[in-house]
Amino acid sequence: MKLHAAPAAVGALALALVAVRSVRFVRSGLTTLAVAAVLALPTFASNAVTSGCPLFPAPPCLDVAWRLPAGEAERLRTAIRDFGRGTLNAPEAQRSGQGWVGGAWLWPRERTSSAVAVVVGAVAIAVAATALARLLPQSGRALAVVGGVLAVGLLSRRLGGVVLVASACLAALSAWKARLPGGRALSLVALAGSGMVIVLAPLVRFGAGYVAVAIGVVGVSGLNAPKWQRIQLLTLVRRRRTGLRGARGLASSRR
């Protein structure tokens, strides 16, 4: 069971409830539930047969002879959480507190030396992709942004929980400024998902989907957002282009 997919499912369900406008909704809703059940039941059955817990490692567990010993699922859940926090082998006092937030989780120790370079590189790529997106016509803008996202994503593999924190901040900032249709709803889903992953099992691989949603909303919104034009580099480029056009128009009119 991937519990961290719950915010996306809840968001989609809320959207479906909002979309209730006809009797056909009941039929289509039942069809959706039937398809979901067909897809999920084999997983539930497999978990029940192998561990006695249909939603393993989440509770509840069935009262069957082959079920795992009491506390085993709880121990596994705790181990997953501590692995994400970087406190798997730490003393109990450190694991139960909030010290993990600013420790190895945020900046993994073995990568701290290059963390600054990674952040600087990511910012440089983002600025370059944005500048390129402004200069290129039509679809070239989108491809430039995608190229930047790919590069930043590759760099983000070397970062720790700061990626999830940045995702939550991006989602929160874009929630009210999103220019994508439904961008606010998507931002809230990304915010809820990133927050849930940070609290329950703060691994980037668990929250990658929500980080991607936040990046997607911000990326599409930023392609034409007026605020992006305030970046000095872009403003200078635009002024230069506008000035060149004005000079050419003046020269042609004199002819």
């Binding site: 991937k2 961290h4 997919a5 996306a8 499912a9 968001g11 989609a12 959207l15 979309a19 016509p137 039509q138 679809s139 070239g140 803008r141 989108a142 491809l143 942004v145 995608v146 996202v149 790919l150 590069a151 930043v152 994503g153 590759l154 983000s156 593999r157 990626v163 220019r179 994508l180 249709p181 439904g182 961008g183 709803a185 998507l186 889903v189 990304a190 998902g193 980037v204 691989r205 668990f206 990658a208 989907g209 929500y210 980080v211 991607a212 949603v213 990046i215 997607g216 909303v217 990326g219 599409v220 392609l223 034409n224």
Partner: protein
């Protein structure tokens, strides 16, 4: 067979990425949700560690499905009649131009 979930998710994600990329770059029929999908799927695949690409772990399929669910939500919103306060669309499906 153990590598089916991750490998299958990568195959489907790359296929959808190609379709979205073609709509954005080739046909001029792109809508904002298409660009969202292009950016979000690219980010997902780029952030995923190599050992999850071909792996029995369900983490990558879950991430891809989250992006796909968000894309469907964006498509639904995009199909609704626009309110006067709604932001202007970014792409023109007729001309294929931005802005």
């Amino acid at each position: 067979m153990n590598a089916v979930p991750g490998g299958f998710a990568v195959a489907l994600a790359v296929a959808h990425l190609v379709v979205a990329g073609r709509r954005v770059a080739g046909t001029g029929a792109a809508q904002p949700p298409d660009v969202f999908l292009l950016v979000a799927l690219a980010a997902t695949l780029a952030m995923t560690p190599d050992d999850l690409m071909i792996s029995p772990s369900p983490d990558l399929p879950a991430a891809v499905l989250i992006v796909e669910a968000a894309w469907l939500m964006a498509r639904w919103y995009g199909a609704q009649p626009r309110s006067p306060r709604a932001p202007k669309p970014r792409f023109s499906s007729r001309s294929g131009r931005w802005g």
